[in-house]
Every structure is written in structure tokens, then in C-alpha cells.
């Protein structure tokens, strides 16, 4: 049950990558589901409160993105590869992780789950995971079990403490990401045991807070949001009528129902959102799988990632929360499904990465522009995608 070999440490960091990734998507989904306008039934003061809730949730999600980047750095420092794949939604508890992974609109159920994700050690814990596993003997890694995120990081921390430091840190430091992504988001370089433990402690501190003072932390943010929601009048619905776990098709790794989107136009927008999301993952993989890209190319990639997330994906996800799921327009609305249709991968030859990425962005731009005839905001996003592609072409070099 302990992490005390390189293989177990890499496995635990793979798990941490998937969990951070999956958790932040759930935060984003809930934030995007929130109403914005007075004509959606929000009173003036509620409109302001709901805006603050969305801002708080998005701020936590941005910190989770930094946590994912830190985990990529930890992985890189010990010779592992970045992990940006994950099973599709929905996932019941104990199939992959000790808690269920579902895309839920903003509400008490979502906030309860978010509190559970960030539950600090020592606080009253939810029910323990099901069956206990025996420790493996010999050459295969021990099964990794944990109940909450802090526990997973405690196991990773233990691995960094006990494995021989001189043998463990074999990754080149230039492959890590220490750029400032914004004035609110910067990442740590991991080169040895001290810096690895500091990076892990920072992640846990942001999630749980310190034992003596839980504020500020994701945990207390979610407690406060839950309390604020509870103070609203009975029947208050801050979120749009977004369905749980929207999807465009069934997936072998997520055979559970979810909510299949049937409205043809909504399917097209959801597929576009999925395509942009996978492009983001491919760009992150390229960014963290250093293949000799020049500093200018890395800068352009980082900027384009920010562009794609803020100026394309988020508006697309918000548009989806106002589009119907059912063919007849009745029932709930959709949301970003975050579907991964096949394993996310990038070319091993760095020169081949750019044309593949640019083809994807061109296709997304064309799809957004076409949909823009019916949904004006998508025409704007199509323009963003086209211009973003032109910016990347400028640094991609002779391969495109």
C-alpha cells in the first residue's frame, strides 16, 4: 500500500494527473452551468452572487490546472511522461477512483462532491472505499488505494521521501514548465527531494489549507459556496437546466448511461467543443513532452493554450448550456461533454506535431464558422480559431 519504488511513484503520479484533470473538468462544468442574465430568473442581487460563485469556482479550477502542471513537472523530474488521458464521464466510485466522477450542474450535489474531493486529513471523512487490497509482493506495484486527494498526495510524498534521491531525479530540468502562465498562475521547478516535497505541499495547501487554518483553500471555498447556496430561498435554481454527463456517443470506458445529446445542432456544437478540448490536451502534451521546440515555439504554444482555453473553449462550453439536448427542444440543456474519442497522443517526431495540430484548428475554425450562421457567438469563435492558427503557423517553421 506504500509508494516506495520509481514505478509506484510514476503510477501514483499518473493517478494524480488523471484525478486533477477529472476534478478540474467537473469544477469547470459546474461553473459554466451557472445562469448569468436577469431574464434567466435571477434577481439583481442573486445575479451578483451567482457571478461571484462562478468566479470562485473558476479560480479554483485554474489552480487545479496549475496542480496538473506541477504533477507533470514531478513526473518529468523522475523520468516519467506527462499523462493527459483519463476515462470518459461518467465514472462510478471505485471503478477507477474512490469517488464517482460525474459532470453535474452547479448545485448542492455538485458542491457536496467538491467538498469530498478536497477533504483535508483529520476532518470527518466520507465512508471508506470498498474492498481492501492486499499488498503485492515482488516486481509489480502495490495497488494504490486512497479515499481523498490529500491521502493520494501523502502517498506520493512518501515515495519522494524514501526513494534514493540520487537515483530518482533523472529528468532534464529544461523539459519542465516554469513559465508564468498568468499573474495568478506559476509553476515550480522540481530538481530534487526538497523541491519535489515543496511542490506537493503547495498543492495540498491550496486544496486543503493548513491543519491550523483551512482558509484559504479549495475545501473552505466549497464549504462557503455550499453554505451560501443553502441560504438562498427554497427552490432557487442558480444553474441552467443542464443535464448530468452530456455526451455525443457511448464510450467503451464509460458504458454507463450519461445523457446522450440528440438535437442535431447541439451535437455539432458539442463535437466541436470536444475537438477543441482534445486539441488543448494535445498542445499540453506537446508542451510537456519537450521535443526540441525552440523557446519561441514554446512561448507561442503556451500563449495559444491560454487563448484556446479562455477565448474559444469557455465560450463554447457556455453556449452549450443554453442548447437543448432533446431533438424536440424539450427537457434540459447540454454542457461541454469533455469526451475523448480515442487515446490522446502526439507525434514522436516534433516536426510532425505542428501540421497535425494546425489541421485540427483549421477544421475547428471551419466548423465554428459554419455553425456561426445559426449561432452568432460561434462565428466570433471561428474567427478566433482561424487567427490563432495563423499565429501558430508563424512559428511552426517549414513543416507547415
Amino acid at each position: 500500500m506504500t509508494v516506495d519504488t520509481r514505478e509506484e511513484l510514476i503510477d501514483a503520479l499518473v493517478e494524480a494527473s488523471e484525478v486533477e484533470h477529472g476534478v478540474l473538468l467537473q469544477y469547470l462544468f459546474a461553473a459554466y452551468s451557472l445562469k448569468k442574465r436577469a431574464d434567466e430568473g435571477l434577481g439583481p442581487a442573486q445575479q451578483e452572487r451567482v457571478r461571484r460563485w462562478a468566479g470562485a469556482l473558476l479560480a479554483v479550477a485554474r489552480q487545479e490546472m496549475a496542480h496538473l502542471g506541477c504533477v507533470c513537472n514531478l513526473m518529468s523530474a523522475i523520468g516519467g511522461a506527462p499523462r493527459l488521458g483519463r476515462p470518459n464521464f461518467p465514472q462510478p466510485a471505485h471503478r477507477y477512483y474512490p469517488f464517482d466522477f460525474r459532470l453535474r450542474p452547479y448545485g448542492d450535489e455538485a458542491l457536496y462532491q467538491f467538498v469530498c474531493f478536497e477533504l483535508p486529513e483529520g476532518e470527518p471523512a466520507p465512508a471508506p472505499p470498498g474492498p481492501a487490497f492486499a499488498a503485492a509482493a515482488g516486481v509489480v506495484p502495490d495497488p494504490l488505494t486512497y479515499v481523498f486527494l490529500g491521502e493520494l498526495y501523502a502517498k506520493i510524498r512518501h515515495g519522494f521521501e524514501v526513494i534514493d534521491e540520487r537515483r530518482l531525479f533523472i529528468g532534464p530540468r529544461f523539459a519542465q514548465d516554469t513559465d508564468d502562465w498568468s499573474n495568478r498562475l506559476s509553476l515550480r521547478l522540481v530538481t530534487d527531494r526538497r523541491t519535489a516535497l515543496a511542490a506537493i505541499d503547495a498543492i495540498v495547501l491550496e486544496g486543503e489549507g493548513a491543519p491550523g487554518s483551512r482558509t484559504p483553500s479549495h475545501y473552505t471555498t466549497f464549504l462557503a459556496l455550499r453554505s451560501a447556496l443553502g441560504a438562498e430561498p427554497e427552490g432557487f435554481a442558480p444553474a441552467r437546466p443542464v443535464v448530468w454527463d452530456p455526451r455525443t456517443r457511448s464510450h467503451p470506458d464509460a458504458p454507463d448511461a450519461g445523457t446522450l445529446i440528440a438535437h442535431p445542432r447541439t451535437v455539432r456544437v458539442a463535437e466541436l467543443a470536444n475537438s477543441v478540448y482534445v486539441s488543448v490536451l494535445m498542445m499540453l502534451l506537446q508542451y510537456y513532452s519537450f521535443g526540441g521546440e525552440s523557446p519561441a515555439q514554446r512561448d507561442a504554444l503556451r500563449l495559444a493554450l491560454r487563448n484556446l482555453m479562455s477565448a474559444v473553449f469557455r465560450p463554447l462550453a457556455e453556449v452549450l448550456t443554453e442548447l437543448p439536448v432533446a431533438r424536440d427542444g424539450a427537457g434540459g440543456t447540454a454542457g461541454a461533454p469533455f469526451e475523448i474519442y480515442t487515446e490522446v497522443q502526439i507525434a514522436t517526431q516534433p516536426a510532425n506535431r505542428w501540421p497535425i495540430l494546425l489541421e485540427r484548428l483549421d477544421a475547428a475554425a471551419a466548423a465554428a464558422s459554419e455553425l456561426g450562421a445559426e449561432l452568432p457567438r460561434l462565428a466570433f469563435l471561428g474567427q478566433n480559431l482561424r487567427w490563432l492558427g495563423r499565429n501558430l503557423r508563424g512559428v511552426a517553421g517549414g513543416t507547415v
Binding site: P44, Q47, E48, R51, L58, N307, S310, A311, R390, N391
Partner: protein, 288 residues
């Protein structure tokens, strides 16, 4: 013969800021929000009051001609003094979260400048068709410029102005008649209590834009010494600064310079000016 119209005044631009997407309608993660009861944010740069969303206790919007010079010579009492200066066709700061330009280097797209007073209309586009990446419309630089901004606005420290305004907002909040105005005033009070957001005030975005597109000179009263020439570019040199994150407004100050076609009538009328400035030097290269 060259005419120079000096202009200045407060403009408004209601646009969401990073990390909100540029087309975010209400403002969530950035510091700019559409307040309760206000329409959606629209990114449009407005130099005149029409379409603005004025907030109580903020400076009035309106950019006007402040000086008129013909061949460098000041014309006191000229009929164009006080003329309205406007940007047409719903121009925006086209940054798009860094896709087009970084913060502070956003081009103004489209750029179609108009001067109007009574029946007089003078307008011209930068180009008839603007194209990404709009390099000619980007600022040539961003510079601190508190001296110029203080001279132009009369404000040396926006934080001081905000302290006074916060008192006015808080007082209004205590007697606000309805929930909508209470929500809006409460949010403004919180913003005005955060002096860090006043820090953008002393920065200036410097623009130098050549206007060579189509335009119009409608001068039924013969206000100008001759018709404006459209066969050579005009120049608009100006700065935008004094950003007030509460009012969502900033200050613009600059000069529009253009030549006159067939200026014989004016030449005959003009007195020789021994102090007329020499022709302007060639323009420096633009920021790529």
C-alpha cells in the same frame, strides 16, 4: 495647407478583462462586470454619450475638438472648436485574450474617425477593409505618462478620486430605492475600495494611425479654408490613458492632421507665418 485639429475628452469602453473571454457578456473572472440593471458588455469604444452606460459620480463622456490650427497657426474662435469627435462603425479594442494582441497593445478595429459640428461632417476610414493582424492599428507603444494625463484630466491620483467617489457611492447605497441599484452600488463600493485597480491610470497607449480609406468632407458653411484632400493620407496621433476601472472610461488626447485640396483660396487668405513649424519628419517604423 495643413489643418490640425486637437481633440480630447473621456471615452467609455465596457469590455470584459482577462481571464474572461473577450466576448463575455457580463464579466465573471476579470475585474470588469456589467452591474445589476446594466446591459451586457459590448467592447465598443464610445467617444460620445450615445450608447454609453453612465455610472453616477463618474466624469461625463464626450471627446471634442479643443484646438484648431491651420499651417501651424492657432485659430482662436474657430467654428470647429467644440466639434464632436467620434469613432464610427462600433470599433473595439481587438485583443481577443492575446490572439490578436497582448494587453495594452490592442488595435482599435475598425478605425473610422469623424468630426462633426452642426451641418459640418468630416470623416475618413483607416482603410475600407481591415485585416488581421491589424498591425497598423496597434499602439506604437505603452508608456507611463502621469504628467500628460494629469494635465489633460486634472487628476494626479485616481485613488484620491476613488476615495471621494466611494463616499458618494456609499451614501447613495444607504438610500438606494430598490434592489437593483443596491446591488450595483454595493459592487461599485467594493471595487472602489480596491486601490490596486486604480494602478492602470498613469499608463498611456500611444497610437499613430494613417487614414487612407474612403471618407467625406461635407462643409456647407465653408468652415475649412478649402475641401479636405483625400488623395494623401491623414494622420491621427493620440494617446489613450487615464483608465478608470469603475467608470469604465479613459481619456483620449490627440491631433488629427490633414491637407486641403486646391488650397488657393485659403493660401490667398492666409497671413505669412514666420513661426510656422517645418514639415513633420518621416514617421518612425510601426511596431510589427
Amino acid at each position: 495647407m495643413t489643418v490640425s485639429l486637437g481633440f480630447a475628452g473621456w471615452f467609455q469602453c465596457r469590455l470584459a478583462t482577462d481571464p474572461d473571454p473577450a466576448d463575455e457578456p457580463r464579466g465573471v473572472s476579470g475585474y470588469v462586470h456589467a452591474l445589476a440593471g446594466e446591459p451586457d458588455l459590448d467592447r465598443i469604444l464610445r467617444l460620445q454619450p450615445a450608447g454609453t452606460v453612465p455610472r453616477p459620480f463618474c466624469p461625463p463622456i464626450g471627446v471634442t475638438v479643443r484646438t484648431v490650427r491651420v499651417d501651424g497657426r492657432t485659430r482662436a474662435g474657430h467654428p470647429l472648436l467644440g466639434a464632436k469627435v467620434d469613432l464610427l462603425d462600433a470599433p473595439v479594442f481587438e485583443g481577443r485574450n492575446g490572439i490578436v494582441a497582448d494587453d495594452g497593445f490592442e488595435p482599435i478595429v475598425p478605425f473610422h474617425l469623424r468630426i462633426s459640428a452642426g451641418g459640418f461632417r468630416l470623416r475618413r476610414r483607416h482603410r475600407d477593409r481591415e485585416e488581421f493582424p491589424f498591425g497598423d492599428l496597434q499602439p506604437t507603444g505603452v508608456q507611463p505618462g502621469l504628467t500628460d494625463i494629469a494635465d489633460a484630466t486634472g487628476i494626479t491620483d485616481l485613488a484620491d478620486v476613488w476615495r471621494v467617489r466611494k463616499g458618494q457611492v456609499d451614501k447613495a447605497l444607504r438610500t438606494a430605492p430598490d434592489e437593483t441599484s443596491r446591488a450595483a452600488l454595493a459592487e461599485r463600493s467594493a471595487l472602489l475600495g480596491n486601490p490596486r485597480l486604480a494602478a492602470f491610470f498613469p499608463a498611456r497607449m500611444l497610437y499613430s494611425i494613417e487614414l487612407s480609406g474612403s471618407g467625406e468632407c461635407h462643409d456647407p458653411g465653408g468652415v475649412l479654408p478649402g475641401p479636405a484632400a483625400f488623395d494623401v493620407p491623414w494622420t491621427a496621433d493620440f494617446w489613450l490613458g487615464g483608465w478608470d476601472a469603475d467608470a469604465l472610461s479613459g481619456f483620449v488626447k490627440g491631433i488629427l492632421q490633414f491637407g486641403l485640396a486646391g488650397g488657393a483660396r485659403s493660401h490667398a487668405d492666409a497671413e505669412p507665418d514666420p513661426f510656422a513649424p517645418s514639415p513633420p519628419p518621416p514617421r518612425s517604423p510601426r511596431r510589427p
